[in-house]
Symmetry: C2
Subunit: 353 residues, 2 copies
């Protein structure tokens, strides 16, 4: 729980003055996230949080650990966006189960110098802003000091009707393969950040900086496809689903392995981000490679029985979907066509044979 | 989830060879924790875990973040015991709600050099051994690299009958105050470890090293009072409860603040650990100070209406309880008697007035 526990009998010297600040922060956080939900029996401030599940529902839970200098850099990630992303990656996992997110626990470790700034408050600003958009309630977590690096463990719970959770394993031969939104921009954004690009301090209105910000924000502020996840689960439209965290090639292979099926996708059908082609051309990046292997798009990759395809909504929350291929028999393998040629689609790589 | 996600589009160079080892480890972990529970729909290996709650029950959840060199030292904490403790502190929180623990998610970040040893496997050995003792199932988590320090976020969920979760806030004037087990040994153990004491490599049979090991193990291998938590919750015996993580003085004050009550405890009634007095005398440590302010005993501090005291079992899982005082009106404050004298009992300090 986010409470006054500080693992007291620790090996470090007492930090009573800064501990007080921490208690103040937790108190302010507790007031800030005061619940309006009848289902929440106890939130932040007791030994554990308590909530009531809905009748006939199952609970879905995921955890994502983000480590500074492994998963993000403090210098290139504004704290508001880091808070957003920490929650977004877990919301994306819940969406990939076809479930509705409800509760969040955030454990965060920060070094003393970071604690003394408004970094943590800004981080929670971004996190709570995203949580509020989807009606997700922060009910707990933990805080600790670290020596150098920031760590965040983001836990999100949700619900789905009993028996409707969408597993990775449910795809059958003949199912159509879909993906939400667009591909490649998150990976393009990472590469541009590595080369020194940063968000415009203020919107200068010029078109190029707007396009650059769009790409950078796909990396820094991923939008979990919460609405699509709920619709695909509740309407029992998806036979299998996974979120694109590692890249289409890896995640499609995972879905096919789990379901003991193959797949054939068409490179011409991939919804590569509009700006990626344009911005990448000038920077010697290959949009197709980014879309296939780049990762962190946090789009949903899902399969639908052919007979159910007409039932699919065209868009949810303004986000469209695109059919990119079809599930095949396991012995056919996981493949991608490019015009008349067909290649093996290997995780993280595209091997010609 | 503990899965193949590795936050791929990271800023670090690819580590494909060691990543493979990590996938292998997760696969082996998945097989090792194969479920026998009808309530578990999906465990490790999908985007999220899915489980079915029991009718008429509420879900209780807690998270505890342990950071190397803040909460433990790698050199003095064998990995098996670190795994035990990471789970134990969260089980203790669930017990303090009067709930039965059921599910666990462990997120762990380790540096490359640790990953290359059997440290993580030994850590899960200790963790799963404790989990199995209480029928707790590991259903997820996350793994990540760190640059230097090990971090573990331990999330445990449990259940209690609707409306029976024992909050910190439920104590009323006249309620009797109880504590499970014994006090002071965990803090004594920490201080001895800081002075260079370590567990005997093998049991030499001599009495002094057995006593020392007992004290060190209270620090290194805390035993969560799971059985007592379940009994006190299910039998509706406790009006308020908290686990002693920060020390009796801090945690009793917390319980009193939450319930807007006061308390008077009797120092002569405190169940100070048998060996602490003996071992501490020789080492200039004050057993009463350790029992009051030491922390990490992970005993349960709870209150019981006087009329319900006869219903209390004498022991659960071999652990006894001790009445240490009585809840008073808020304006009476939180106090401790020593013979005929009465002092204010302040959190972490014992101020004479």
């Amino acid at each position: 729980m986010i409470d006054e526990h500080e693992h007291p009998a620790t090996l470090r010297p007492s930090q009573s003055s800064s501990q007080k600040t921490e208690f103040d922060f937790i108190d302010s956080l507790r007031q800030r996230v005061a619940s309006t939900s009848d289902s929440l029996i106890a939130g932040i401030g007791d030994d554990a949080a308590v909530f009531r599940g809905s009748a006939g529902k199952e609970t879905v839970i995921t955890a994502d650990l983000l480590v500074e200098d492994i998963d993000f850099r403090r210098t290139t990630t504004p704290p508001y966006l880091l808070g957003h992303k920490a929650l977004a990656v877990s919301l994306s996992d819940i969406a990939a189960m076809g479930a509705r997110p409800l509760w969040s626990l955030i454990s965060i470790g920060v070094p003393e110098d970071v604690w003394q700034t408004d970094f943590v408050e800004r981080l929670y600003d971004g996190l709570l802003n995203l949580a509020n958009r989807y009606g997700v309630q922060l009910i707990g977590g933990d805080t600790s000091r670290t020596h150098e690096n920031i760590v965040i463990d983001s836990v999100v719970m949700g619900e789905c009707a009993a028996g409707t959770a969408v597993m990775r394993s449910g795809a059958g031969a003949g199912d159509q393969i879909f993906v939400t939104g667009s591909l490649g921009a998150a990976a393009a954004g990472l590469r541009l950040i590595e080369r020194g690009a940063h968000l415009a301090e203020q919107n200068l209105g010029d078109e190029d900086s707007q396009k650059l910000d769009h790409i950078l924000l796909r990396q820094l502020r991923p939008e979990p496809r919460v609405g699509w996840g709920i619709v695909l689960g509740e309407e029992r439209l998806a036979t299998a689903m996974i979120d694109l965290s590692d890249g289409l090639s890896s995640d499609l292979n995972r879905l096919c392995t789990a379901g003991s099926v193959g797949a054939l996708i068409d490179s011409a059908l991939l919804p590569i981000d509009n700006y990626v082609a344009e911005m990448c051309g000038r920077r010697a990046l290959d949009p197709l490679q980014l879309a296939l292997h780049g990762g962190e798009d946090f789009e949903l990759l899902f399969t639908v029985r052919s007979k159910d395809v007409p039932r699919l909504p065209r868009r949810v929350d303004g986000v469209e979907i695109k059919r990119i291929g079809e599930i095949t028999a396991a012995h056919e393998g996981v493949k991608i066509s490019e015009g008349t040629r067909i290649w093996d689609l290997r995780p993280g790589g595209w091997k010609h044979f």
